[in-house]
């Protein structure tokens, strides 16, 4: 498939082929590679927090175990299931986008967004409980039942990691919303045009991927 055939014909309104790409395949490949490069920086961003976690867990193992057990494992497990299921619907959205089933894409992305909201609501209740009992970072820690060196550090790591992850959930929701609106309004996703859904979905899977590691690290010490 040569670029000239696209440029000259103009029969396909989407996707637009930029002049500097030899073909649509190369353009899609470049888009995907760019997304992977961006996701690599995201992985390294979270890696910084994982290192803090590793170092302080090594230094304060008892505090880590005690603090971890003060979290609500049920809520954490429910949130894990919610996020994994939202990843499934995001993957299904890409699947339907390839088939050009725009209604199904909108439904799957809608479900993903609903579960994302559910995740954040559960997270809100977990945060609220921590503010109520005083398991907070640094000098704001005031929980009488666990008094061990290093416990406030656990909550520093906990809040940094889950808040950064929460921000990613919100950004992912915005990204997927754009695809949702397009699937409803323009309804032009199809075998030649699904990169937008695909890349948005990749971002969402990264959010899921990070949580898959955060969950056992924080809740199951």
């Amino acid at each position: 498939m040569q670029s000239s055939s696209h440029a000259a014909g103009g029969a396909l309104p989407v996707p637009r082929l930029a002049g500097h790409f030899a073909s649509l395949e190369v353009q899609n490949h470049a888009a995907r590679l760019g997304m992977w490069l961006f996701l690599a920086t995201e992985i390294l961003l979270f890696a910084g927090l994982f290192i803090c976690y590793g170092i302080y867990r090594f230094l304060f193992p008892e505090a880590w175990a005690a603090a971890s057990r003060s979290l609500d494992l049920t809520l954490g497990t429910v949130n894990t299931v919610v996020l994994i299921t939202s990843s499934l619907t995001a993957a299904l959205a890409v699947h339907y986008a390839k088939d050009g089933k725009n209604k199904a894409v909108a439904v799957q992305l809608g479900l993903t967004l609903v579960m994302a909201v559910g995740f954040l609501v559960i997270k809100y209740f977990e945060y609220k409980h921590k503010f109520d009992i005083g398991t907070l970072p640094g000098r704001f820690y005031s929980y009488e039942d666990i008094q061990l060196p290093g416990v406030p550090l656990y909550f520093t790591v906990y809040f940094c990691a889950t808040a950064l992850h929460g921000i990613h959930v919100v950004i992912g929701m915005v990204v997927l919303s754009f695809s949702l609106v397009r699937a409803l309004k323009k309804a032009d996703f199809g075998p030649n045009n699904f990169t937008m859904v695909e890349l948005g979905s990749m971002y969402w899977h990264l959010v899921d991927l990070v949580w898959i590691f955060l969950f056992p690290m924080l809740y199951l010490v």
Binding site: N28, L33, A47, I84, Y141, P216
Partner: protein, 151 residues
């Protein structure tokens, strides 16, 4: 030309899926099973191997997500390279500080930590409000930095 071939192959893999939506449901089921396993094994707090087991399960789940949900299995050369290199860097970033920390002179570890001879009480903070332990916030003062209780 090599890149063009790679693009073409990747495009073909992505466009003509060799599988239906069933594969995603299968992966989802596997992820839920693995979540159940990690919760079940995590709750009994296996000493020593608990962390390793949790990380192995999490890595398995992460691999499933990356390969099938993120389509790394259908992608070619460059994408896989980028992902693999980022994972290698994460492992390096994690292991080098840990090796450093694990081989330190005891006196160089933070007071109050398991590997330090100095505990909270030795550094002028009472056990109830160890400098590194945070401790109770009492009326009229905010945790560390206060010398009311210093010996």
């Amino acid at each position: 030309m090599g890149i063009a071939n790679e693009s073409r192959q990747e495009e073909r893999n992505m466009r003509e899926e060799h599988h239906g939506a069933g594969r995603y449901w299968l992966i989802w089921g596997l992820l839920l099973v693995l979540t159940a396993v990690t919760v079940a094994t995590g709750r009994i707090h296996i000493p020593t191997w608990g962390l390793l087991l949790a990380l192995v399960i999490a890595t398995t789940k992460g691999t499933l997500v990356a390969l099938y949900f993120m389509h790394l299995a259908d992608h070619r050369g460059a994408n896989r390279l980028v992902f693999a290199v980022s994972i290698i860097f994460v492992v390096l970033l994690l292991s080098i500080p840990m090796v450093d920390l694990g081989t330190r002179f005891r006196g160089a570890t933070p007071p109050g930590s398991t590997y330090s001879d100095l505990q909270a009480i030795d550094i002028g903070a009472d056990a109830q409000e160890g400098r590194y332990g945070g401790g109770l916030r009492k009326e009229g003062k905010m945790g560390e930095g206060s010398d009311v209780n210093k010996k």
